[in-house]
Structure formats: C-alpha cells, structure tokens
C-alpha cells in the first residue's frame, strides 16, 4: 500500500494512462485541418484590419502634443517655485521705491530711508532679514503646530497664526542668532521638493548713517546753545555790574551833595539842588535800564533753555531710534505659508515634465502590449 502514499503521483500516472487518441485520429485531424484553411482567411482579414496599434499611437500622439504644448505655454507664475531657496540682498538708494519691496503676495514692507547714495568708504552692514517660506504638506494642522513649537523654542514669538484644513499662515519673529538653526529645523519638516524659502536682507546702513549724522548735529547744536547761554549770562552779569557801579557812584554823590546842602549858601544850594535833580533823573534812567536788562536777560535765558531742552530731547529720541534700529536688525521677521498638496501635485513635483504625459505614455505602452498579445494564441 506504500505506493498509494503519494496520491497526486497515483492520479498523475492514472491521468497519463487515460490520455488516448481516438482510433480514427488521423482522419479526424485531417477533417479538422481542412476546415482551418477556410477559417484562417477570415482571421487574417481580421488581423489585417487591426494591423496597426492605433490606440497606442493615439495615446502616444496625445502625450507628445501635451509635452510640446506644455513646453511652449508653461509659465513660471502659478507654479510652485522649485528653486527652494532665494536669498536677496538689497541696499536702499535714492531711487528706492516702495513697490520694489512688496514681495509677491506677502505685502510685507521693509523700512525705507531716503538718502543720497551711500558712499563705499563705510562698509558696515546692518542687515534686516525677512524670511518667507512655503511648505506643501498633507498634514496642515500637524505642521502648523510643529512650526509654532520651533519658533517658541528658539526664543521667538508668533505674531499671527491662521488657516484652515487647506491653507495656513504663520507670521513670527525670531532672534537673528537663532536664524540658521531655525532654517534647518524648518527644512527638516518636509521633503525638499515640497519646500521653498525666500530670504531677503536689506542693509539699514543709510538709516544708521542718518541717525548718526543727526546725533552729531544735535550734539553740536547742544554745545553751541550751551556756550550761547553762558555768553548771555556773562553779558548780563557784566551789564548789571556796570549799572550797579554807576548807581553806587550816583548814590555816593547824592549823599555827599545832601550833606553839603545843609551848610551851603544860596548859590551853592541852588547848584546842589540842580545837580541832585540831575542825578535823580540819571539814577532813574539806570534803574530802568537795569530792569530792562533783567527782563531781556530772562527772556533770552528762557528761550535758550527751551532750545537746549529740545536738543536734549532730540538727542534722547535719536538714541531710542538707534536702539530700535539695532533691535530691528537683531530680529528676523518671517512668514510661513502651509498649503495642502494633492497626490497629483506631488507627482507633478517629482516627475520631470507634466505627469499627464507620462500617464499617456504608460497607457500607450499598455495598450500596445494588449494589442500585441491579442495577435497571438497560446495553448
């Protein structure tokens, strides 16, 4: 019974032994083959009718037309920028236009400073950097949260954050010394082809120079005003002391004359009284002059004090402005847009040329194989 252990082998042997040809095999075969001659012509006619793989040719032609069309009509606008990093350095000039600094659809304004051409002997750089990035993703919410964590983690702040399931926008600011780390972190968020960034830097040197020039001018002004004030005080003191001296002299003469008046004769008395009257009038004049001098002095002093105070305020403001500029330079303002991407778009990004062309070529190849396969008959 061991020979029945492998039942498949037994059936195989049995099957082979059952394979027989009929006794009249040859005559049957010839009869069938005679029929073939007739039928074969029909088949050949059918085959002739579809002698060319028209479907494949059609697909291939459409693909070529698409390819030519897309190479002629493709424009950069409206497509995702594949140059994923753009760095721009700008130096403002006298012809600096506000429209120049409106970047694409971001409407972001970089401060302008209208000065005449900046001389080359000053090579200092005060770069104000703006960062714009676009990330295509299929998980908007997830990426948005990750970006916010990165910004806050690097000591930055989120200025605005909005969006929906298809689009999101995050406006933020981060310290300049963390910028490179930030860029690396953001780049690691998605595939390279799905990421595009635009970094624009503007040298704020003209603004800085203007502030410095203003500061120099204000300091000079301040020094001038101070010396002016001192001169006014000095002049006033001199005038007042001169007048006081004259007054004292008049007073002394009056005292002497009044003492002499007690013992003087009529003629001398007349002379003394006349002189006293003259001295009194002179004294009054000096007193008036002194009062006028004090009044004028006070006016001048007040005026110059106000000017000095204004200059001090201006100096303080310029200091604040300078600090603000330095803080501005030390801050990177940025904007990241997240946009949902479909699988088709992803395909478009990764496959060279329009994807529809590739699909049409594949369709052409498949249809050709079908056509080719149908031309054969196997057992």
């Amino acid at each position: 019974m061991s020979k029945y252990k492998n039942i498949s082998e037994v059936f195989k042997k049995w099957g082979e032994r059952n394979q027989k040809v009929p006794e009249n095999n040859l005559s049957l075969k010839n009869e069938i083959l005679e029929k073939v001659t007739f039928v074969r012509e029909e088949i050949e006619i059918k085959k002739e009718k579809r002698s060319l793989p028209w479907v494949s040719i059609g697909f291939a032609s459409i693909a070529i037309l698409f390819m030519l069309g897309s190479s002629i009509f493709t424009s950069e606008s409206g497509t995702f920028n594949k140059n994923n990093t753009v760095i721009e350095y700008r130096t403002p000039s006298s012809s600096f236009d506000l429209n120049d600094i409106l970047y694409e659809d971001k409407k972001q304004i970089i401060p302008t400073w209208n000065v005449d051409g900046t001389p080359i002997n000053d090579s200092r750089e005060f770069l104000k950097t703006n960062y714009n990035a676009t990330l295509l993703t299929r998980k908007i919410e997830n990426k948005k949260t990750q970006i916010e964590i990165i910004v806050r983690g690097l000591g930055g702040r989120i200025d605005s954050s909005n969006g929906n399931k298809k689009y999101s926008n995050i406006v933020f600011a981060i310290p300049v010394d963390k910028f490179e780390i930030f860029r690396m972190e953001i780049k690691n968020l998605g595939w390279e082809k799905l990421f595009s960034e635009n970094i624009s830097s503007l040298n704020l040197l003209p603004e800085k120079q203007s502030i410095e020039e203003s500061q120099k001018w204000v300091v000079n002004e301040f020094t001038t005003l101070k010396s002016e004030r001192n001169q006014i005080v000095k002049n006033h003191t001199s005038v007042i002391s001169g007048l006081s001296l004259r007054l004292r002299s008049i007073d002394q003469e009056i005292s002497i004359l009044q003492y002499e008046l007690q013992t003087a004769n009529a003629d001398r008395r007349y002379q003394i009284e006349s002189r006293l009257s003259q001295l009194s009038s002179e004294k009054n004049n000096i007193l008036n002059e002194q009062a006028n001098e004090n009044k004028n002095y006070q006016i001048k002093l007040n005026s110059i004090d106000i000017r000095i105070k204004n200059t001090q305020n201006e100096l303080k403001n310029l200091g604040l402005k300078d600090q603000k500029l330095m803080d501005n330079v030390a801050t990177i303002n940025g904007n990241i847009s997240l946009r949902w991407v479909s699988l088709w778009e992803m395909g478009e990004l990764y496959i060279p040329g329009p994807m529809v062309v590739w699909l049409l070529f594949i369709a052409a190849i498949i249809s050709y194989f079908f056509w080719h396969r149908n031309s054969y008959i196997s057992i």
Partner: protein
C-alpha cells in the same frame, strides 16, 4: 503560437489525447467521445476568430466547448453512463492493470465534483489558470477544492485498507 494550418495540427496533437481521455473517462463511451471530440474541434475552429486569449488559453477554451457539448448530450439522453469495463471498454480492458482498476474504483467512490476536478487536473492536465476559466471559480477556491478532493481520495484509500 500564431494560427496556421500546421500549428492547428500541433494543437491537435497536443490537446486531443487529453481531451479525448477526459471525454471517454467522463462519458464511458468511445463513439460518443469521438463525436463530441470532433464537434468540439469543429466549433473551436469555426469560432476561432472570436477567440480572446484573456478568457484563458486555447486548451481552456476547447475544454469549455467540450464540457458544453457533454452537457447537451446528457440533456438529450437524460443520463450519465456509469463505467463498466465489460460493456464499454473491450479494447481498453487488455491494458488495465491492478493499479488502474484500483484508481477507477477510487474515482467512482468520489463525489461528482471531486471526480470532475481530478479528471481536469490529471487527465486533461490543465493548469490551475485554465481550470479557473473552465470552472469559473478563483484560483484559491480551486486549490482548496483540489486539496479536499485529494483528501477525500486519501480517506477512501485508508478506509479500504482497514476493511
């Protein structure tokens, strides 16, 4: 294989022993098997322009025609003849050895569906792909069914050994 007279001849030589063996083993009648073989080939050749390979190979196609012819025959005669060596196979009887007899008895004891699967697989020597086209079932189901049929055959052998 492109179709021409010589190649149809090759097809005949390749397929006919299997088809005829299958027909005879199913019908148990030489003359009926001859008729159905001839009819099947004629129909196959006539309908060859309409043959589409996606429905299986040529073998699957001609076996399908033959099975259809057998069904028509049974419908007309209203019965399936049981195999009887004495009545049906006088010429064949001389060649029967012990093993063949044993397997025939075994086949006879199997269910009708199992019998058909064993015939198509071992006499017709059809591939699983062609069998799925003929029986209109998927390949997994077919493999399971064949496995079960072989299992039934094994259990019958075991029963016979104990008896």
């Amino acid at each position: 294989m492109k179709l021409n007279k010589d190649q149809v001849g090759e097809l005949w030589d390749e397929i006919t022993p299997k088809l005829y063996g299958y027909l005879f083993n199913t019908l148990h009648d030489w003359s009926v098997a001859d008729d159905i073989l001839q009819t099947s080939w004629l129909k196959a050749i006539e309908a060859l322009p309409n043959f589409k390979e996606r429905n299986g190979g040529f073998s699957a196609w001609i076996f399908s025609i033959a099975r259809n012819e057998m069904r028509m025959y049974w419908r007309k005669n209203n019965r399936q003849v049981e195999f009887d060596y004495n009545l049906h196979d006088i010429s064949f009887k001389d060649e029967i050895n012990e093993e063949m007899q044993f397997v025939e008895q075994l086949i006879k004891k199997l269910e009708k569906e199992d019998r058909e699967l064993i015939r198509l697989r071992y006499i017709a020597d059809l591939s699983f792909k062609d069998m799925t086209k003929i029986l209109n079932i998927n390949q997994v189901t077919l493999r399971v069914k064949i496995h079960r049929a072989l299992g039934h055959a094994r259990s019958i052998i075991k029963t016979q050994m104990y008896e």
